[in-house]
Amino acid sequence: MTQAERCVARNHFELFGLPVGYDIDERDLARRHRELISTCHPDRFAQASAQERRLAVQKSAALNEALKVLQDPVARARYLLELAGVSTGEETDTVMDPAFLIQQMEWREALEENRDNPARLSSLMDEWTAMTAARQRELAGHLRAGAAGYPQARRLVRELQFLRRFGDELDEAHLET
C-alpha cells in the first residue's frame, strides 16, 4: 500500500468526502464531521492500547482542524487559494486598497466616538453586516470563476479579514453598553 492510499485524504475537502470548491452546505458539513469523529474520538478508545489512543487523538484533531477551516467562509476561501498555490499573505503583505483603508479608518473613528451610543453602534453594525455580506457574495463569485478569479478573491479575503477584526471590536463594544 502506498503512502497516498494509507492517508485517507489529501486535503480538508476530501477528508469529508466533499468536492474541492467554495460552495458548502454548512449543515451537511457539520453532519459529516460528527459522523466521522464518532468513529475516531478518543472516547471510543478509552480501553484501547496507548497506540490507538494516540492515533485517535491525532485523527480527531485533524477532523476538528478541517472543520474549523471549512465552516468559516473566509478561512475556506483562504484555504482554496492556498491549495491553488496563491498565498493571501496577510501577515507579510500590508498593501491594501486605499479607499478601503480610508473607509475602515472612518468606521474606527465612529466606533471610538460612539462607545456610549448604542443607537449609533447598532447602525454601524448594520453597515458592517451589509458590507461583509456583499464582499462574501463577491468572493463566492470570483472563486467559482476558477483561476481567473483568484486575484480578486485574494483581495476580498484580505479585506474580509480586516472586516472581521473590526466586527469583533464592534461586538465587544456592544457587550459593554
Partner: protein, 612 residues
C-alpha cells in the same frame, strides 16, 4: 492460524466481563461518587447514608488524615490544619490565590499549605478526597475500579485540569476522561435522548461558576461555548451575608469565630430557600434576623456577575435567548430562589431543576464512565468538548501569539515552525500561556518547554516544527522535530503552577496508599498492564481487519507480539518497555490504516444515505 496462536487457549482477546466504573464530582464544597448499576445510576453513600462527602481534609502531626465530615467537624477548632474549598487552589500560584485562611509555605509554582502533617499541595489534598471516594466505591461494589470519569468546571484552565488528573493518579485512580461539569449535567437529564436542541447549563457551585451552551444533534453533544468565573460561587454568597452580619454586629476577630460566622451565614441562606425570615445567633458577632428580601439584595450583585458570562456565551455561539431549548440548573447555590428567578428572567424560560442539583453532575459522569469502560454496549452518545481559554506562546516584547483559540473543539493540534538564531544552537525554549489578553503578563503562564537535541547547524538553517496537542481532557503536550534531519527533540517541561513527573513520583512513594509497593514494583505493574492491553488490542485488530495487513506485516506484528508476551512474563521493566515500543512500531501503520478504514466506512455510509 499462526497469527492467533499467541493467544492462550480459552483466553479471549476482548474480555466482556462487566467492568467497575464510577463518575466523580470533585466539588469545591462537596464531592460525590456514583455508578451505573443495573441500568440505573446509583449515588454511593457512606456508612451513615450520606452521599455528599464534604471536600474537607484534616492533617494531623501523626501523619494521619481525616476526610469528609470528620474533618469538617474540626474546621473551627483546628482551622489551619483543616483544608476546605481546596478546588480553588488547584493549579494556582501563591500570588494568585488571594486571602486564604491557611498558612502558606514559601514556594515557587503551585501554592503549598503548611499543615501539622507537613507542607501539602492542593493536589495532595484533593488526592485524599478522591482516595476516600475510591474506598467507598470499592467497598460498595466489591472490587477494584477499572476507571473513573472526573468532572471539572468547563472553564478550568490547563493547569487546573492537569492538577486534577495528577490528584487522581496519586489516589491510585485511572482517569478515563475529565468531563466538563455542564456536559455531565446534560447527560444526567437525558438530554442526549432528545433528537436535538440547544441547552444552557447554569452551574453555580460552592466556589465556581460555569455556564455552557451545548448543542445536541444525532446523539452527539458539542460544547458550543463556555464561560464563567472560576472564583465565584455560593461561598461568596455566604461571605456577603457574613460581611453584612458583621456590619450590623461586631467583627469576627478569631479564625474560630470567622468560621462560625460563615457557617451561620450558609445555614441562614439555605433556610431562606423555604422560609421568609430566619433568626441568626453567632456569639460575640451578631444576633438578629435576616429576611429573604435582605438576602436577595446582598446577593443580587453576585448573581448579576453570573449573567454577564451567560450573555457572552450566547454571543460567542452566535445564538439568541429564544434559540435555547432548555436551561439546566446545577450546583447547590441554584437552590436559592433568587438565582432561579434571575436565570428565568434572562432566558424567559423556567429552568430544569428536578434532579438534585448537588448530584446531577456525578450522575452524568457515572453514565459516561459506564460507557467508556464498554458496559453500555453500542451507543451513539459522544461528548465533544472545547478548549475554554486560548493557548498562546510568548514572542518578542512580552507579547502573546495565539496558537489555539478559545472554544476550539478538542482534541486539536497546531504546528509551528521555528529556526535557530545562532550557529550551532542545539536548544530552544517555548513559553506557553493561556488567556485572551495580548500581553504575557496578563495571561496565565502554563509551562516552559525546553527543546534539546537540535542538530548543530548554521544560524537559520534548522527548521524545527513544534506541535502543540490538546487532548480530549483539555491537557496540553508539546513535541518537536527538526525537519531537515528528522531528529526528534527531547523536551523537558517546567510547569509554572503544576507538578513535575518527579514531584508526583516522590509523592507516590511517600504516600500511605503506596508505602507497601515501591516505585520499581509500581513501574513494573504499569508496564505489564500496558503490555497486556497492547497484545489484546493487536490480536483483536488482526482478527477484525486482517485483510488490511500488508505483505509480511502480520508475521512481523506476530513476532513482536510473541516477544512482548515473553518479556511481560519476566521482571525486567526496561525489556517490557522496549518490547512495547517495538510492537508499537511494527503495528503503527496497520493501526493507522484501520482507523482510516473506519473513517472511510463512516463516509461511505453517508454517501449511500444521500443517494437514496
Amino acid at each position: 492460524m499462526a497469527l492467533l496462536q499467541i493467544s492462550e487457549p480459552g483466553q479471549s482477546p476482548m474480555p466482556h466481563a462487566r467492568r467497575l466504573a464510577a463518575g466523580i464530582d470533585l466539588g469545591t464544597t462537596n464531592s460525590l461518587i456514583a455508578t451505573v448499576d443495573g441500568g440505573a445510576v446509583r449515588v454511593l453513600a457512606d456508612e451513615t447514608g450520606a452521599a455528599l462527602l464534604p471536600s474537607v481534609v484534616r492533617f494531623f502531626d501523626s501523619g494521619e488524615v481525616a476526610v469528609g465530615s470528620a474533618a469538617q467537624a474540626a474546621e473551627i477548632e483546628d482551622p489551619l490544619n483543616t483544608i476546605a474549598s481546596v478546588k480553588r487552589l488547584m493549579g494556582r500560584g501563591r500570588d494568585e490565590v488571594g486571602q486564604v485562611p491557611y498558612a502558606l509555605a514559601d514556594s515557587e509554582g503551585m501554592v503549598r499549605l503548611k499543615t501539622a502533617g507537613g507542607d501539602k499541595t492542593p493536589v495532595e489534598v484533593s488526592a485524599h478526597i478522591l482516595a476516600a471516594l475510591k474506598t467507598r466505591a470499592e467497598d460498595a461494589l466489591g472490587g477494584p475500579l477499572t476507571g473513573v470519569v472526573i468532572t471539572v468546571p468547563a472553564y478550568f484552565d490547563e493547569a487546573q485540569r492537569q492538577a486534577t488528573k495528577d490528584a487522581a493518579r496519586l489516589a491510585g485512580l485511572t482517569v478515563l476522561r475529565l468531563l466538563s461539569e455542564p456536559t455531565a449535567a446534560a447527560v444526567a437529564y437525558g438530554l442526549d435522548r432528545q433528537p436535538e436542541g440547544l441547552y444552557c447549563i447554569y452551574d453555580l457551585g460552592g466556589g465556581t461558576f460555569d455556564v455552557s451552551l451545548l448543542r445536541l444533534s444525532q446523539g452527539v453533544f458539542e460544547v458550543l461555548a463556555t464561560g464563567g468565573d472560576a472564583r465565584l460561587g455560593g461561598d461568596d454568597f455566604d461571605a456577603a451575608v457574613a460581611a453584612d452580619l458583621e456590619a450590623h454586629g461586631r467583627r469576627a476577630t478569631t479564625a474560630e469565630s470567622a468560621r462560625a460566622l460563615l457557617r451561620a451565614a450558609r445555614t441562614a441562606r439555605e433556610q431562606l430557600t423555604t422560609q421568609e425570615t430566619v433568626s441568626i445567633d453567632v456569639p460575640g458577632v451578631f444576633a438578629g434576623t435576616l429576611s429573604r428580601d435582605e438576602l436577595n439584595a446582598l446577593i443580587d450583585p453576585l448573581i448579576e456577575r453570573t449573567l454577564a458570562p451567560c450573555r457572552r456565551v450566547l454571543k460567542d455561539a452566535g445564538v439568541r435567548v429564544a434559540d435555547v431549548s432548555e436551561v439546566v440548573l446545577v450546583g447547590g447555590a441554584t437552590r436559592t430562589p433568587r438565582v432561579r428567578e434571575r436565570v428565568e428572567g434572562l432566558f424567559r424560560k423556567a429552568p430544569l431543576n428536578d434532579i438534585d442539583p448537588d448530584q446531577v453532575v456525578a450522575v452524568g459522569a457515572a453514565r459516561q464512565a459506564d460507557l467508556l469502560v464498554g458496559n453500555a454496549g453500542a451507543t451513539d452518545m459522544l461528548l465533544l468538548d472545547v478548549i475554554p481559554l486560548s493557548l498562546g506562546i510568548e514572542i518578542m516584547g512580552g507579547l502573546v501569539e495565539r496558537i489555539i483559540p478559545r472554544n476550539a473543539p478538542i482534541p486539536t493540534t497546531r504546528a509551528q515552525e521555528f529556526t535557530t538564531y545562532k550557529d550551532g544552537q542545539t536548544a530552544l525554549a517555548v513559553h506557553v500561556v493561556q488567556g485572551e489578553r495580548d500581553l504575557v503578563t496578563d495571561c496565565r503562564s502554563l509551562a516552559r518547554f525546553t527543546l534539546r537535541g537540535i542538530p548543530p547547524m548554521a544560524a537559520g538553517a534548522a527548521r524545527i516544527r513544534v506541535t502543540y496537542q490538546v487532548d480530549a481532557d483539555g491537557l496540553l503536550s508539546v513535541s518537536a522535530q527538526e525537519l531537515s534531519s528528522g531528529a526528534e527533540s527531547e523536551i523537558t517541561v517546567k510547569p509554572s503552577y503544576g507538578l513535575t513527573d518527579a514531584d508526583i513520583e516522590r509523592m507516590l512513594s511517600e504516600s500511605m496508599a503506596h508505602a507497601a509497593t515501591d516505585a520499581a514494583e509500581r513501574a513494573w505493574r504499569e508496564q505489564v498492564v500496558e503490555a497486556d492491553r497492547m497484545i489484546d488490542a493487536v490480536l483483536a485488530a488482526i482478527a477484525a481487519d486482517g485483510r488490511l495487513l500488508a505483505e509480511g506485516e502480520g508475521e512481523a506484528i506476530a513476532t513482536h507480539a510473541r516477544a512482548l508476551r515473553a518479556a511481560r512474563d519476566g521482571r525486567d521493566v526496561t525489556a517490557i518497555r522496549r518490547a512495547i515500543e517495538a510492537l508499537d512500531r511494527a503495528s503503527a501503520a496497520f493501526a493507522a490504516r484501520r482507523m482510516d478504514e473506519g473513517l472511510r466506512r463512516a463516509m461511505a455510509g453517508h454517501s449511500i444515505q444521500e443517494f437514496r
